[in-house]
């Protein structure tokens, strides 16, 4: 054997192991020769992403079809390969287990700097002026500190000044002989500081979701993101889903106060954290834009949300709200004005408004759909001049709740499932499986349908069914409502038990995906939009990013469109808030849009039940069934 080539393995920590190897050997085999552990879940068949590596130096053979399928064109282009598929042709350096470019499964932030600023008119409404005001000297002139400052800046104060500002004014003005920086928001004075601080002008955008709260600190002049923060909504202890949290606050103002205090604490904490990360003084945050669903919006403002939970689910206010941060008990940012984006109607809240701004669906010439998959999903459909929205209560199943082995997208969660003669599961972090997350659930159902383990009716096939490959049949247990399918056997799992998907789990998935899909179908029906008419379907929300679109289509969670028409837009709600933060034009635009968008109440529609039934089913795979053909 002629070991004439050098392959160097580099770990994420920078440790290097050079190996002499023969031309044409696969990266994986080279690694195994020297006992370097490379995860190869699928048995080196190119059917999983376990052995993904990044080529750092050296020529690399063209990608195989498996590389392309597993990694996608972008990653392949950036030099990512599957170690089992790639053969060495020259001296090469590769990185083992490179970080996932999707950023793992953390809580999702808003947009990047470029897309946030694209096509919008910058101008946050916050102005900072460095002036030298005259200090009143002459006893005979009727003047005051504030009047001199107004004269120097040319500001036209229309609202009341904060008492704190007035209290510090005499000292601030005289410290440097009248040299002060005056900060205004839409003309009204927010703060007066000693000396020149015009460089420091910041703002924050927040998305207060039922499940998580995330924020983004931006430079108001450049729109550049300086810090991003996020955490699980601490209100969750009072109920995981929206309705149970509303029920908690219903007819009980004490409980409302508890919920509100937790939201305010979380936001205050995130402001502090973001300011520390970016080395920004909280006093220099002048504008905060907040989005959130209708319930979170009301609770944040301390408005009784009781009636949002009851038909006709009408909010107390739909218009944009603007108030000093101190009125909201956000004491960390004494100089800021908090702006809430408007609510469309019912459960289609300020978060949906944010997503609408971010995706520019109101400028589109073609019909597009925007789907936010969450505990309380939202669907917005239409184009320039005609937009409709509805909310689709999916419940928390898609986030792993109410699923026997369900879990959030954390280390050890099954996120991808492959089935042919047997089952291969991929977990986050390639750790032994401890449960399944939402994206894994969708993937599992799609592949179980394809392989026949799951029937179109949603029923698991009987374990005695001879049409199934033996390895799959062996994974089935129980019957009827107690049936289950083993994804990972106990000995391979990170628990002492089999990781299964039960019949009941499948039913929960059907209800959840049926809610989302019926929202899409309903708007399609009302707007008379066929599948072909839809130019694009955009997936928003933290969860949307991790869904395998092919699987989502295969189980009819989403409209069966060609996959290239389905795109991810990330946390569009937060990105919309960011846009309204750096552009008053965009913030004002939201006011108009909120009134224009037509809201559809699903439950109030006579045809909802039929649509829901249709949406709950899985697509029929058999076409040789005479009754199925004549049926619905």
């Amino acid at each position: 054997m002629d070991n004439n080539l050098t392959l160097t393995f580099v770990t994420a920590d920078g440790d290097r192991t050079p190996v002499k190897t023969e031309s044409g050997t696969s990266f994986l085999d080279s690694a195994r020769e020297v006992d370097i552990d490379v995860v190869a879940t699928c048995g080196a068949r190119g059917k999983c992403r376990g052995c993904r590596v990044k080529v750092l130096k050296g020529s690399v053979a063209p990608p195989t079809i498996m590389d392309e399928v597993q990694l996608g064109p972008d990653e392949v282009h950036e030099g990512f390969r599957l170690a089992c598929q790639t053969r060495i042709i020259a001296d090469t350096e590769i990185m083992l287990a490179p970080p996932q470019t999707e950023g793992g499964h953390q809580i999702l932030g808003g947009g990047d700097d470029a897309s946030r600023r694209a096509g919008i008119e910058m101008g946050s409404g916050v102005e900072k002026n460095f002036v030298t005001a005259v200090i009143p000297m002459d006893e005979h002139v009727q003047s005051s500190d504030i009047e001199e400052i107004l004269t120097a800046t040319g500001a036209s104060q229309s609202g009341p000044l904060s008492p704190d500002l007035l209290r510090k004014l005499p000292a601030v003005l005289r410290k440097k002989k009248g040299a002060v920086t005056v900060t205004t928001f839409n003309g009204n004075i927010l703060d007066i500081e000693v000396g020149d601080t015009t460089e420091h002008k910041y703002g924050m955008a927040f998305d207060i979701g039922t499940t998580s709260i995330c924020g983004s600190l931006l430079d108001l002049d450049t729109g550049e993101q300086l810090a991003s923060v996020g955490e699980i909504n601490p209100q969750s202890v009072y109920g995981g889903d929206l309705m149970s949290r509303l029920a908690f606050a219903q007819f009980d103002l004490g409980n409302l106060r508890k919920l509100r205090a937790r939201a305010i604490q979380a936001v205050s904490g995130q402001i502090k954290e973001a300011c520390e990360k970016a080395d920004v003084a909280p006093e220099h945050i002048y504008k905060v834009v907040v989005v959130g669903n209708t319930a979170m919006h009301h609770i944040f403002l301390g408005i009784d949300p009781t009636y949002i939970g009851l038909a006709p689910y009408s909010p107390s206010i739909r218009d944009a709200v603007e108030m000093p941060a101190r009125d909201l008990m956000l004491k960390t940012i004494p100089n800021a004005t908090v702006c809430m984006l408007p609510i469309v109607a019912g459960f289609v809240g300020a978060d949906a408004m944010g997503a609408i701004l971010a995706t520019r669906i109101f400028e589109s010439e073609e019909i597009r759909a925007l789907v936010d998959i969450g505990t309380n999903g939202e669907v917005i459909m239409g184009r320039k001049g005609k937009l409709m929205a509805c909310s689709a209560p999916a419940g928390p199943a898609l986030e792993g709740a109410q699923i026997k082995h369900g879990m959030r997208g954390a280390i050890g969660a099954i996120e991808k499932v492959y089935i042919d003669d047997d089952v291969i599961c991929e977990t986050i972090g390639n750790a032994p499986a401890t449960g399944i997350c939402g994206s894994g659930l969708i993937d599992a159902a799609a592949n179980m349908l394809k392989s026949g383990v799951l029937q179109a009716s949603g029923r698991l096939r009987n374990k005695d069914d001879e049409s199934l490959p033996p390895a799959l049949a062996a994974r089935l247990s129980g019957s009827g409502g107690k049936a289950a399918f083993i994804l990972v056997y106990a000995e391979d799992s990170g628990k002492d038990e089999d990781i299964t998907l039960t019949q009941e789990d499948i039913r929960q998935l059907q209800l959840a995906k049926g809610a989302i899909y019926s929202g899409i179908l309903m708007l399609q029906r009302i707007m008379e939009v066929s599948d072909e008419d839809l130019a694009e379907l955009q997936l928003a929300g933290g969860f949307g990013n991790y869904i395998n679109t092919a699987s989502a289509v295969a189980i009819h969670l989403l409209t069966p469109l060609p996959l290239e028409k389905i795109t991810y837009v990330g946390n569009a709600a937060l990105m919309g808030a960011e846009m309204a933060l750096i552009s008053e034009t965009e913030r004002k635009r939201a006011d108009g849009l909120a009134k224009e968008i037509e809201h559809v109440s699903l439950a109030a529609r006579m045809d909802f039940q039929d649509i829901f039934i249709e949406a709950m089913g899985f697509p029929e795979t058999k076409t040789d069934d005479p009754i199925a053909k004549t049926g619905t």
Binding site: M243, G309, L310, P312, S479, I627, A628, T630, G631, T632
Partner: protein, 235 residues
């Protein structure tokens, strides 16, 4: 547990024209194909088969099979709903014919979803099952104000009232509705059943309902028992 099987009505061939076969209809109802059911029942009516025969020999076998599976939890709401919808399509055609035959009903049942709640999926399954069992139903729909329950109960001289709540935010109105029935002097003239996903037996006891239906099957059983129990007479 025994796997439920299709119960083929004894002697159905004697009650049908020569060469007639109900098998496709049993299957269509079981699998919830409502258009097929509609067409098949239409054809049966045109062939002069009696409505009671269509109901018992044609529609019930498939429906009962699914009903049994439903109560054994072999199937769940989605499939039960699809079957119920097909059943409804068939029933809609023969109900006017049955009404003309004027059989004495088991009782009058007023049903609806409480104020503030727009959900009616579970309720519509219960409605169909109660109808099949022989109750006369007044379905008030969704978001029903307590006054409308009271009004309908008086008009129909109802034996039972049932109301569902599907949201954790609306179960409260089950309590309110019972209180209003009490105030109106209707409470003791009827038996009250409640149901809905967030409800429990404890909740039913707490608010003073007469019964709690865990599912549609349970609700029908309860209704059959409760209708026999003593109540104040309607004036």
């Amino acid at each position: 547990m025994a796997t439920p099987e299709l119960q083929i009505p004894e002697g159905w061939k004697d009650r049908a024209p020569d060469g007639w076969d109900w098998q496709p209809l049993w299957e269509a109802v079981e699998r919830g194909h409502n258009e097929f059911t509609h067409d098949f029942v239409t054809n049966a009516i045109e062939t002069d088969i009696g409505p009671k025969i269509i109901l018992d020999d044609g529609l019930f076998p498939g429906f009962n099979l699914q009903g049994d599976r439903f109560s054994e939890q072999i199937i769940l709401i989605p499939e039960m709903l699809i079957t119920a919808r097909a059943m409804k399509a068939g029933l809609a055609l023969i109900r006017p014919l049955l009404a003309a035959m004027a059989e004495k009903p088991l009782g009058h049942f007023v049903i609806g979803t409480v104020l503030g709640d727009m959900h009616d999926i579970g309720q519509s399954i219960v409605t169909i099952m109660l109808e099949n069992a022989g109750f006369v139903i007044t379905n008030l729909g969704t978001d029903v104000h307590p006054d409308r329950f009271i009004e309908a109960a008086r008009e129909q001289k109802a034996d039972l009232i049932g109301f569902s709540a599907l949201l954790s935010t609306t179960v409260y109105y089950q309590k309110v509705t019972i209180e209003e029935l009490q105030k109106a002097g209707v409470r003791d003239k009827v038996k009250i059943l409640i149901g809905g996903a967030p409800t429990t037996q404890e909740w039913a006891d707490e608010i003073g309902a007469d019964g709690w239906g865990k599912d549609a099957i349970e609700a029908v059983k309860l209704a059959r028992t409760l209708v026999e129990e003593k109540r104040e007479a309607w004036a």
